[in-house]
């Protein structure tokens, strides 16, 4: 009896570990390695594009298309005769992967993995599913830098898609931006789509920027509204860049004064 007790005292740790290992291996083999795969998925989770993000992008695109249609309809009424010649445009855009973000916390920028050799130039307009993202501000042979519309230095002429009231959109370094309207009492309500204005020289008109989140109309002059940007910029991995000729031709076809 004493012999058995001593043996147990001496080997119990190894024995328990061995049993645990064997048991674990057995369970693992019975479960087809699901546990390990789950752990692996959990670890690599941040590197994966999950379904929720994809759904958000698709939703954003649906909203964009719907708003674009509404916007085109309303613009069509006033611009029909002016636009009939160049109504069919040969869109030249390339899909570009995002290489990195801005190198400090004050600027809102993207670095793209294509540059001048692919036809990107300073001023090229950058899109993503959902709407406008920004504008190329610097370009090298193989990369380009985009100033996002969420940057506080970026100011864009925009209009309310439904009522055509004009304003200026300024980024807030977040997913929201602020529109300052020109009119004292603009016809605008929460949920209205904000699109780029035809007066903007930097962006082609009618592109979805975001939708109104809250209103601050009671301010005496310069009524303001908070706009939720349409594109989930922080989640993007690919963007679409309109090559410069295209932007230019878009601008040419649109009259300065509708």
């Amino acid at each position: 009896m004493l012999f058995l007790f001593r043996w147990w005292e001496r080997y119990r740790l190894g024995l328990i570990l061995a049993i645990l290992c064997l048991g674990g291996a057995w369970i693992f083999s019975r479960s087809q390695g699901v546990g390990l795969l789950e752990v692996f998925r959990f670890i690599s989770g941040p590197a994966q594009t999950d379904a929720a993000k994809q759904k958000q992008l698709v939703d954003a695109q649906t909203v964009q298309l719907r708003q674009q249609m509404a916007d085109l309809k309303s613009r069509n009424q006033t611009l029909q005769e002016l636009l009939d010649q160049d109504s069919v445009q040969n869109k030249q855009a390339i899909a570009v992967q995002i290489l990195g973000r801005s190198a400090d916390n004050w600027w809102q920028q993207l670095t793209l993995s294509k540059g001048r050799t692919d036809g990107i130039d300073v001023g090229s307009v950058v899109f993503a599913p959902g709407g406008l993202v920004g504008r190329v501000t610097a370009v090298s042979q193989g990369t380009s830098r985009v100033l996002l519309i969420s940057d506080p230095t970026s100011r864009i002429g925009v209009i309310v898609s439904r009522s055509r009231h004009m304003g200026i959109l300024q980024g807030q370094s977040s997913t929201d931006a602020i529109v300052t309207f020109f009119d004292k009492d603009p016809d605008v309500k929460v949920g209205d789509a904000i699109v780029t204005s035809s007066l903007s020289r930097l962006f082609p008109p009618g592109l979805l920027v975001g939708k109104i989140k809250t209103l601050k109309l009671e301010q005496n002059y310069n009524p303001q509204a908070t706009v939720e940007l349409a594109v989930p910029i922080s989640k993007l991995e690919w963007v679409t860049v309109y090559l410069n000729d295209q932007t230019a031709s878009l601008q040419k076809t649109v009259p300065a004064n509708p």
Partner: protein, 185 residues
């Protein structure tokens, strides 16, 4: 203690070349990390300021002049990566100056905690300098700058100090060995 000395037989020139390669390579790596924003390193869209950590690591055992020089160089690199106006050199040069002037012998042991604390304080300072520059620049409204500074400075400081050992440990180890091989220390 440092046991293997693979560079013992090397001439000072080779050693210096190696050192230059380490310096350039580590700076490039830091600059790359700055734009990469890997998911584990990001807190509400804000990443660690790798170049700041590098400047602190560099200046901690050097004079303030060397620190200022490094700060200016890396500030220029960061300018190149974002925008030159307002410049990042002011903040990083200040970091190099102050870190170089710290009386390490008396106040600070060279451990990760001290490094993390220094980096934290320096990150707050760099963001404050940037905030002042943006505020004076006239492109941003003052209340926006203040709001953004409050939202960001703390996360930037915490992240930078948490990730500081990743830069500090290998570089410090290399420089200790390098100086010993050259007979400086």
């Amino acid at each position: 203690m440092i046991k293997p000395l693979p560079f013992r037989k090397q001439s000072p020139l080779t050693l210096n070349l190696w050192n230059a390669a380490v310096v350039v390579g580590s700076v490039m790596l830091c600059a790359l990390m700055l734009i990469l924003r890997l998911p584990v390193m990001v807190l509400s869209g804000i990443g660690p300021n790798w170049l700041l950590v590098w400047v602190v690591t560099w200046s901690i055992k050097r004079t303030s002049v060397e620190g200022v020089l490094a700060g200016i160089c890396l500030g220029l690199i960061q300018d190149g990566l974002t925008a030159a106006q307002p410049t990042h050199t002011v903040g990083l040069a200040l970091v190099g100056l102050l870190t170089g002037r710290l009386n390490k012998k008396r106040f600070i042991q060279e451990d990760f905690i001290s490094i993390a604390l220094i980096v934290f304080a320096m990150a707050l300072m760099v963001e404050a300098v940037a905030a002042i520059q943006f505020g004076l620049g006239g492109t941003h409204r003052l209340e926006d700058v203040w709001l953004h500074f409050r939202q960001m400075a703390l996360s930037s400081g915490i992240l930078s100090s948490l990730w500081a050992p990743v830069v500090y440990f290998p570089l410090n180890r290399w420089w200790t060995r390098y100086h010993r091989l050259l007979g400086i220390e």
